[in-house]
Symmetry: none
C-alpha cells in the first residue's frame, strides 16, 4: 500500500469528473440523485471514445522494474466441461493479453487437456466433475474435495470469472454454487457470464447484496433476470430505469447489459459505452468481455486501495472491459472483415 | 576434446578479466577476498549490457559443418504433472531456442500428451506417477521403474532442469529426489526451480556440496531458503553478504536470486545482472530462465573442458541465462507491450 502520489491524485480527479461531476447528465432517470455517464455519446461534455479510453488508462497500473509476478493481477475462470472448452480459454487468455500476470482455469477432467492444449500460458486445474462421473453416494465427498482444492487458491485470486463454458450439469452447478459462496466469504470479486447466469438467475442469493459481483447478461439472459428479479418483461422505453431497478433489486450487484450499446449499473448510476466495435457477432466475444472486466475490475480495486478511495471499481471495470473489447473488435474487423473470429479479436487486445 | 586454439585463449583471457581481474570491485562485501562483478552497473570499469553479452558470446560454441547432433547440448527437464504442463514446455523449448540440440521432458502420464502437443520438437517421456495413481504396495517397484527408465538416459544429458511444473505430490517428489541423487552420481549438473526448490528446501542434502547445482529462487523461494539454511530472515541491507553466506552454507551451490537485478553467487563471488529486461511479469519467465541457464552452463563446461580450465561454469551459465532472458523480454516488450506473453519472449530468444 503506498501513499498519495501526484499520479494517483490525477487519476482520482479525472475519475471524479467522469463519475458524477458537473459534466454528468441525468437523462431518462426519475431519481435525480442518480448519475448517468453518456460515454461515447458526445453529450454532457464527455466526448466519444477518448473518455472511455481515459478511464481505462486511469485504472491501468503502471509497469516498472520493481514490480513482481502477480501484482498486475491473478485471475481464475471457473468453466469448461465435456461439451465446452473454447469459452473458458477465450476468457482466461484475454485476461493475460489485457495484462494480468497469471490466469487459471478450473474445469472438468475431460475439458482440461484440451484447454491446456490451446495454450501453455494458462494454469488449468482439472477438478470439476459432472453428474454421470460421480455415483450418488460419493457426491458429497467429491464436492468437499473440489472445494478443498479451490480453497487452496482462492485468496490468491484478484477476481473469479464464473460461467464461460460451464454447461448445465446439476452436480457441476452445485459445486460452482459452493465455489461462489467461498469466493464471497474471501471477498473475491466475481464476474458472472454464460451458464453462470443460468445458475444465478435460479438462485439469486448467490450474488444478492454482493457489491463485488458483476453480471454480464446478453439480451436473453437479461430478459430472464428481469423476469425473475422484477417480475415483469423488459421495457426498452424505460431501459435505463429498469436496469437501475434490476441492479438495486439485487442489492447493488453491478450489471453490464450487453447490446448495441453496453449499459452498466450498480443500482446507483448508469453508464453507457457505445464506441464502435464490430458488426461481426461470432461466438466467444462475451468470453473476452468477462476476462477483460475481471482484469480491469482488479486494477480499479488496486487503484482505489492505493489512493484510499473507491468510485465503484465494478463500474470502472465494466466500462474498461467493454471499451477494450469494442476497440479490439473494430481493429480485427478492419483486417478480417466477415471472416473475423474471436481469436483475431484477442490478438488485437494489446493494440491500444 | 580439442587442444588450445587462438579462439579458446581469447575466450579465457576475456573471462579471466571479467571474473576477478583488476576490473573487479569489492562492494558491499566484508570479505575482501570475495569478488563482485557489477555487471550492467557501469561501475568498476565494466560497462552495461556489452560485458554480459560478451560473456554470453564467449561461452557460446561456434557452429560448423563438422559438428554433429548433440554437441550443442542435450537438456532434460524433470517436471509436468496433472496440474502443470506449460512450465516444463517453456523450459524445454527455451533450451532448444537458445541452441541446444536435444531437449527432453520427463513428466507424468497425464501431462505427456499435452506437452507433446505443444511442440513436436520435444522428446517427452511419460514416466512419472502421482500418489493417487499408484497403490501403496506398488510404490517401491514403481519408483525403481522410474529410476531405471531415467538412468537409461542420464549420462547422455549435459544438464538436468528439475522443477518446472513439478507440483507437490509426495510420491512424485520422492521419485524426483532419487532422480537428483542419480544425476549427482553421474556428475550431471542440475538447475533447480519452482517446486524443485520446495523439494530442495525441505531436503537440503539433495544439493549440499554439489558444485554443479544451481538454484534459481524468486523472492518467496529465496526467503524460505534463507530461513532454512541461515535460520534468519532476508536482510536486503546485507543482501550480497547474505547471498554469499547462503551459497557457502550449502557448500558451494550456485544461487541465482531473481529480482529487479539478478544476483548470482557460488559462495566465493557475487555477480549482478541488471541489464534492462521488461516490466511485464507474466508467469513462465522463470521457466525460460531455467532452460537457458541449463544450456549456457553446459556450454561453459564444454568451453572449460576444451581449454582445460574452469572459471565456475555455473556462474557463467547464470549470467548468460539471465542476460538472454532480459534481452529477449525487452525485445518482445517493444512489440507486444503489456500484452507480452511468455511465448512471445521465447520467440525473441534467438535475436541476439
Amino acid at each position: 500500500m503506498v501513499g498519495y502520489s501526484a499520479a494517483v491524485i490525477r487519476r482520482q480527479q479525472f475519475l471524479i469528473r467522469c463519475l458524477g461531476g458537473n459534466n454528468s447528465v441525468n437523462k431518462n432517470l426519475h431519481n435525480s440523485s442518480l448519475r448517468m455517464i453518456p460515454l461515447g455519446s458526445g453529450a454532457g461534455g464527455l466526448t466519444l471514445e477518448s473518455d472511455v479510453i481515459n478511464i481505462l488508462r486511469s485504472i491501468t497500473p503502471s509497469l516498472g522494474p520493481a514490480r513482481h509476478k502477480g501484482q498486475a493481477g491473478k485471475i481464475a475462470v471457473v468453466g469448461g466441461c465435456r461439451e465446452y472448452t473454447g469459452a473458458p480459454y477465450f476468457s482466461a487468455i484475454s485476461a493475460l493479453k489485457i495484462g494480468a500476470d497469471l490466469s487459471h482455469v478450473f474445469c472438468t477432467k475431460d475439458a482440461a487437456p484440451v484447454i491446456k492444449g490451446y495454450s501453455p500460458e494458462l494454469i488449468v486445474h482439472p477438478i470439476l466433475e459432472e453428474s454421470d462421473s460421480v455415483r450418488d453416494e460419493f457426491k458429497r465427498s467429491t464436492l468437499a474435495k473440489v472445494i478443498a482444492e479451490i480453497d487452496k487458491w482462492m485468496e490468491r485470486f484478484d477476481c473469479l470469472v464464473v460461467g464461460p463454458g460451464l454447461g448445465r450439469d446439476p452436480f457441476l452447478l452445485d459445486c460452482v454454487s459452493e465455489i461462489m459462496k467461498h469466493a464471497r466469504e474471501s471477498k473475491v470479486p466475481i464476474v458472472v457470464d454464460g451458464d453462470g447466469l443460468f445458475l444465478v438467475t435460479n438462485c439469486l442469493d448467490l450474488v444478492r447484496d454482493y457489491h463485488l459481483a458483476v453480471l454480464t447478461p446478453n439480451i436473453n439472459e437479461y430478459k430472464r433476470l428481469v423476469q425473475k428479479v422484477l417480475n415483469c418483461e423488459v421495457n426498452d422505453q424505460e431501459g435505463t430505469q429498469q436496469l437501475l431497478s434490476l441492479a438495486k433489486g439485487l442489492g447493488g450487484v453491478t450489471i453490464l447489459r450487453k447490446g448495441e450499446s453496453d449499459y452498466i449499473s450498480n443500482g446507483e448510476e448508469v453508464s453507457a459505452v457505445n464506441i464502435f466495435g464490430s458488426p461481426r457477432r461470432c461466438g466467444g466475444q462475451g468470453d473476452i468481455l468477462s476476462g477483460s472486466v475481471a482484469v480491469f475490475l482488479s486494477w480499479a480495486r488496486q487503484c482505489a486501495a492505493e489512493g484510499g478511495w473507491s468510485p465503484s471499481p465494478t463500474i470502472l471495470g465494466c466500462i474498461s472491459g467493454s471499451a477494450i473489447l469494442r476497440k479490439a473488435a473494430s481493429l480485427a474487423f478492419v483486417n478480417k472483415r466477415r471472416s473475423t473470429l474471436t481469436s483475431d479479436i484477442i490478438e488485437c487486445l494489446g493494440q491500444r
